[in-house]
């Protein structure tokens, strides 16, 4: 028996499930009348976000997400759109991170982050049916009951339940990310999927603020098995406010000596005509991990950078 590339061969079952999952995603959105779109991978610059570094490509960059181009489509009257896109982020490599990964992103005109949570539930249930998983997904030693509706808890509540300090104390000590990843995330989505909602305003530079509490944004994250799966916003449509937030992020990037990004003027100019909308980005590779039981993201893609 020829040996071939055994490390590729042994991923066969996971790669077949991956293909079936991608097919189910497309079928779900096509049945609901969403338009599948494709936008350029190589762009003049991404949305400036302090903690996300784009990979340079000549004078331009590889997209870190398809967000800016998809919102321009939304502003041009494409009301319900989805895309399965390759995205690139510099320096991100770990058990749950690849520097090149696959995002499913979709937008709903007239929606907000609460309606995105509902669509997200519908999508995962549709995929579970397509893959004959039933209503309980076994992931490693967990049995996750996906019967909707899934619990929603605010970031503040989650810190109060799981963290040694309150949200305010974590923010004051600049240790939000450390506490979130070490103390909060490991408890999220173990027996049921959960939406973590209402993030501190400064952690959602493209989301609308909460009407009743402007210290938090209309942002949520879906967690399954302790893993962050999808990020949803009620999208910000105020051009001036968006401009101020980008300037703030860009100033932080410059102070830290990071590569400057050009201001995304065409995107900013489209905001006055963009409808109120919800948008969400879901990590496809991690969803494949959940449905295949894979422990590492390496097991759900054919090639990792180390094996090229």
């Amino acid at each position: 028996m020829a040996e071939g590339d055994w490390h590729l061969t042994r991923k066969g079952a996971n790669l077949k499930t991956r293909a079936a999952l991608l097919e189910a995603i497309r079928r779900f959105f096509n049945l609901r009348g969403y338009l599948e779109v494709e936008t350029p991978i190589r762009i003049p610059g991404p949305a400036p976000e302090y903690h996300i570094d784009a990979v340079p490509s000549g004078d331009w960059f590889l997209q870190t997400s398809p967000e800016l181009c998809m919102k321009r489509l939304l502003a041009a009257g494409y009301d319900r759109i989805f895309q399965i896109a390759r995205c690139f982020r510099e320096g991100e490599r770990g058990g749950l991170h690849l520097p090149e990964f696959t995002i499913l992103e979709w937008y709903e005109a007239g929606g907000d982050y609460t309606s995105m949570m509902k669509t997200c539930e519908d999508l995962i249930l549709f995929i579970a049916d397509a893959l004959s998983l039933g209503r309980t997904i076994s992931y490693r030693d967990l049995a996750i009951d996906i019967t909707p509706p899934w619990p929603r808890i605010t970031v503040r509540e989650a810190f109060a339940s799981h963290a040694p300090v309150s949200l305010e104390e974590a923010l004051a000590a600049s240790s939000f990310d450390e506490i979130l990843t070490a103390h909060v995330e490991p408890h999220l989505g173990l027996d049921r999927p959960v939406f973590l909602t209402d993030y501190p305003a400064e952690m959602a530079s493209l989301a609308k603020l909460h009407p009743r509490d402007p210290t938090v944004a209309q942002r949520c994250e879906l967690y399954l098995a302790g893993m962050e799966m999808a990020n949803a916003f009620t999208e910000l449509t105020d051009e001036e406010e968006q401009r101020r937030r980008f300037a703030r992020e860009e100033a932080r990037r410059r102070r830290a000596g990071k590569k400057p990004y050009p201001s995304p003027e065409a995107f900013l100019a489209c905001l006055p005509s963009m409808p109120e909308a919800g948008g969400i980005a879901l990590g496809v590779d991690r969803l494949v991990m959940i449905v295949t039981g894979a422990a590492r993201i390496d097991d759900v893609v054919a090639f990792t950078p180390e094996r090229l």
Binding site: E3, R10, H51, I52, H97, M203, E228, N231, A281
Partner: protein, 187 residues
Amino acid sequence: MYTASDLRKGLRIKLEGDPHIIVDFNFVKPGKGQALYRCKLKNMLTGAQFDRTFRSVDVFEPADLQEKKMQFLYREEDKYCFMDNETFEQVYLTEDQVGDMKNFLVENLETEVLLFENRPLGVSLPNAVDLYVKVAEPWAKGDTVAGKTKPVTLETGYVIQVPPFIEAGEKIRVDTRTGEYLTRVKD
């Protein structure tokens, strides 16, 4: 100097003056948050283990260890004996100091023993080492299901997942950084 993005399992850095080895490593990053480098560290002098999380702005000095080419001779209970082939000087490492490398240590293997002020503290191996398969279930001919794996036991006692066609007595190449099977080796 190392930056946080250089951190990985097996890297040796200086912390508070002492040499430390990273025994476990995980990159974590909330989607909109900062990159965090979560390490389990072991003080190579005291053996004390602890967790520490670093940020991308952190920088590290390499541990100031000397490396000396030495040959692995034998294991006696929990002591591992290495010899300098030029001076015939012998040093001993404990099982704890050898760590995961014990899975790949076969007699006469060329290694680099790490010394701190002439005290032996650890050992570095080549990235790939060839080892004999000692115990393996026979390959059921006709079992050609692509991508199947089976566990086999190597001459060091290490159990590893390999393709089903690997038989006892064969030699395979193993990646000492990940502990994974690389390829079959023809003698």
